[in-house]
């Protein structure tokens, strides 16, 4: 898959070394958020609302306080922001207030499981008993769960001060629609009038959880002078610091956040739930507090992603050229605004060059947990609808589904609906590689069907920091600002090793806490290899420049005559008796030649390149049970350059598996009383090893990203975008009718097959 490298063969980038933190991870030594023990540490526990919507009339903690072993009890009133009633203007402050109120309710509870109080005690059993002794009186209010019901006039209102934004003039009455997002171009109505063929449909998806195996966990320790420490599993130690410090009204420099190893995040750990609560408990009693969610709490009270209702309509010529598309998307935000519906609008047609587009998105609150980011937030649902409609179009026209996409695929220079111009894209090449693949050419057996779907994600750059330190024996330590979710330590070390010309074994990578490395945005958004990698390379380049200067001084030659390659400085001036100087030699003399050799770089990386994916799903259905079995799967993606191919393959395989679960089995099931009925791994059914085949990957590296020193594009999020439709298209072909409602659980499939 590799193209020619930019000038000279790469020695480390593109190889598959063992990740530097690997031994710790396979021996149980790696420390995750719940693995810390501190002297005097207390066990925390949270009391949660049993009602989906209610006013909090009173909270009586007196009985709980008397229980021996209870050291602190807090409620929403113990946070500094919002509870006092002083609300600063501004979106940022409102967002913080909503996070705080999601961590501990103020005034109202908005979903079953919404936290109302927390306890710290000497033993977990005592904390549990104390939680039961806290008496909360509620005035139960009518609730609403479903997105269309929440949008309907007369629906129970969650927030009396919510007036739909994005509507001019501002509406007179509050509603549950937080935002209306409108985007488009051209003459959609005209294009539909003259279309040869139109396909349309309503598509729905259910709320699904990111499903990380590690529940949220933290340990918080308040110092007597206010200087505090939080250990937590998180996708962003600086984000945790910012949110917790603002919620507790502390200066940022008083809060040190140490990122533990993280057991999966996928976007769900780019916010806080427990950390402010644990710290405010610690503040009250002066002892460290550990707070860990149970799996049930993870389902009840941590963000899933939105369920959705979408109407899509596509117009095309009889040759398969899409001339117009119209789409309505309504996404659930949960209890507070902030669904990714606008990102759904922006990505829905991003793969295709469509002149006339009209998209409307609604961000709708209802009595469910507040949604959090989930891998390419907003895109998978939108792609499900669009890629299903395209599959229907291909069937109607008698066209091969890949040919239909090739006919409409964006190429460099195409203008997206959201303002970006496509560049460095290999979407066409990816489609062509899938079409030419052995999988695509393999005939299907009776009863099997094949689904094809494509997907897009922007990928971002953003703020990152990295330091490169040279040890006195010539080894190197890289300090990265970003928690390592998927093996990025390996990639950071590899990019540093490549730049410095060292073997990978001489480069170690560690992750800094908020006091020991510059600021960084979270690990997520497919940005770490791109942006933090860029910072690593820039820091390594500065080190190389420093090494060359020291070599020049050592030889007494012109700096321009010094070359650095394979970890050694050589002098191109034949008049100097200049023996090559290795990294080790220069490092050992560093004290005498100017001091320590180290560099730290902080950047705000721009120039991230978008990614495109194309997936194939072969599937068969058991006619007695309706169970769909994926028998073969291929994920192809435009990755720019795979720094460590095994971890890039891993992103494609993991994203595909999540998408398959989303398509076939995963959903939040609510009863009429607003209770979540399947808050456990038994009943929230994620794919296990026996559900899946091997997942083949095709890494397309024909268009490296010219804005990254090694050509990397973000890869982590694209893989979850195509699978929903890839699976649904296959099921639709087996069943013989268009399946429009996810998940395609056995009961649903059986019912569709029975209708004949």
């Amino acid at each position: 898959m590799s193209d020619g490298n930019q000038g000279g063969k790469l020695k480390v980038v593109g190889q598959r070394p063992i990740r530097p933190d690997g031994v710790d991870k396979v021996t149980g030594r790696a420390q995750f958020g719940a693995d810390f023990h501190l002297p005097g540490m207390l066990a925390g526990r949270i009391k949660r609302s049993p009602h989906p919507h209610a006013r909090i009339a009173s909270i009586d903690t007196s009985a709980a306080e008397k229980l021996p072993g209870v050291k602190a009890i807090v409620t929403g009133a113990d946070f500094d922001s919002g509870a006092s009633g002083e609300v600063e203007a501004g979106e940022g402050h409102t967002a913080i207030r909503e996070v705080a109120q999601n961590c501990l309710a103020v005034g109202k509870v908005l979903y079953v499981g919404h936290a109302v109080a927390a306890v710290a005690a000497t033993q977990p059993e005592i904390a549990a008993e104390a939680v039961d002794l806290i008496e909360v009186t509620y005035e139960v209010l009518p609730h609403v769960i479903d997105v269309e019901e929440a949008m309907a006039p007369g629906a129970p209102l969650l927030h009396a001060d919510m007036f739909t934004k994005g509507v001019t003039p501002k509406p007179d009455n509050p509603s549950n629609i937080a935002l209306k997002s409108v985007m488009g171009r051209g003459d959609v109505a005209g294009a539909f009038k003259s279309a040869d063929v139109i396909v349309e449909g309503r598509y729905t998806t259910a709320a699904v959880h990111q499903g990380y195996i590690e529940p949220h966990a933290c340990v918080a320790s308040w110092g007597a002078d206010g200087q505090s420490t939080v250990w937590c599993s998180s996708q962003g130690q600086f984000l945790v610091r910012a949110l917790v410090a603002k919620i507790l009204g502390m200066p940022l420099s008083d809060l040190k956040v140490i990122p533990a190893e993280i057991g999966g995040g996928f976007g769900g750990k780019t916010t806080v739930y427990l950390e402010p609560v644990a710290l405010v408990l610690s503040r009250k009693c002066g002892r460290p507090v550990k707070l860990v969610m149970s799996r049930e709490e993870v389902f009840l009270a941590s963000g899933p992603t939105s369920g959705s209702v979408m109407d899509v309509k596509i117009a095309a010529t009889k040759d398969g050229k899409i001339t117009a598309a119209e789409m309505m998307l309504a996404y659930q935000a949960g209890a507070f605004p902030g669904s990714p519906v606008h990102l759904g609008c922006m990505t829905a047609f991003a793969c295709y060059d469509v002149e006339n587009l009209a998209l409307v998105g609604y961000d709708v609150v209802s009595n469910r947990p507040k949604v959090a980011a989930y891998r390419a937030p907003g895109a998978p649902m939108a792609a499900f609808a669009v890629e299903s409609a395209l599959d229907e179009l291909a069937q109607k026209l008698g066209m091969d589904p890949i040919d239909l996409r090739l006919k409409n695929a964006v190429k460099d220079g195409a203008k997206t609906v959201y303002g970006a111009t496509v560049k460095s894209a290999a979407f066409v090449e990816t489609l062509e590689m899938v079409k030419a693949s052995e999988h695509y050419k393999t005939p299907l057996a009776k009863g099997q069907a094949r689904g094809v779907a494509a997907g897009f994600w922007f990928n971002i750059g953003g703020e990152s920091s990295a330091a490169v330190h040279v040890d006195e024996d010539g080894g190197v330590t890289v300090v990265s600002s970003n928690p390592d979710i998927g093996g990025s330590r390996a990639s950071m070390a590899m990019m540093a090793a490549e730049t410095l010309g060292l073997p990978i074994e001489r480069v170690r990578c560690t992750i800094g806490d908020t006091t020991s490395i510059g600021y960084s945005g979270s690990t997520g958004g497919s940005r770490v290899t791109f942006a933090t990698g860029m910072a690593v390379v820039q820091a390594a380049e500065k080190v190389v420049a420093d090494l060359k200067r020291r070599a020049a001084e050592t030889w007494g030659c012109d700096l321009a005559m010094v070359e650095w390659a394979d970890g050694v400085a050589t002098c191109a001036d034949p008049s100097k008796d200049a023996k090559p100087l290795s990294m080790k030699a220069l490092a050992s003399k560093s004290a005498k030649t100017g001091g320590p050799i180290a560099s730290e770089v902080s950047i705000n990386a721009q120039g991230a390149a978008a990614g495109f994916g194309v997936h194939l799903c072969d599937l068969e259905i058991d006619p007695e049970t309706g169970r769909s079995t994926v028998i073969r799967y291929t994920a192809a993606q435009d990755v720019g350059r795979a720094i460590h191919p095994a971890y890039v393959e891993g992103q494609l395989q993991g994203g595909a598996a999540q998408g398959i679960g989303w398509a076939l089995n995963e959903e939040y099931v609510y009863g009429k009383s607003g209770q979540l009925e399947n808050a456990s791994f038994l009943d929230y059914r994620m794919p296990v090893a026996s559900d899946l085949p091997m997942i083949d990957t095709i890494l397309v590296e024909s268009r490296p990203n010219p804005r990254h020193p090694y050509g990397a594009k973000g890869v982590g999020e694209v893989p979850i975008v195509p699978p929903l439709a890839a699976v649904a298209n296959a099921v639709s072909h087996v069943v013989g009718k268009r399946m429009t409602s996810l998940p395609l659980s056995p009961a649903k499939v059986l019912a569709a097959m029975a209708k004949g």
């Binding site: 509507v167 990714p340 390419a376 937030p377 303002g419 953003g462």
Partner: protein, 82 residues
């Protein structure tokens, strides 16, 4: 005059529904100031809550980015990830 459009309905909340207009500015920083002057609150909103596409390239948190007299500017919602 650089031409400015937006795909976000939020901008209309500040401009009374206006979504296409010309701007004098030549840098994002100057643009933010001009928008704040013409539509109070919008400049701050754009700086904190939005990304900008300049001639087809996306910039996020890039006050120093510059553009030309015939550039096309699109105000877009911030792009995050998961």
């Amino acid at each position: 005059m650089a031409r400015l459009t937006t795909i976000s309905g939020r901008v209309g909340d500040f401009t009374g529904g206006l979504t296409h207009f010309d701007v004098e500015a030549r840098s994002v920083r100057a643009l933010v100031r001009e928008l704040e002057r013409r539509f109070p609150g919008l400049g701050e909103f754009v700086e904190d809550q939005m990304a900008i596409a300049i001639d087809g390239e996306i910039f996020q948190d890039a006050l120093t980015a510059e553009f030309g007299a015939d550039s096309e500017i699109v105000l877009i919602p911030r792009i995050s990830g998961g």
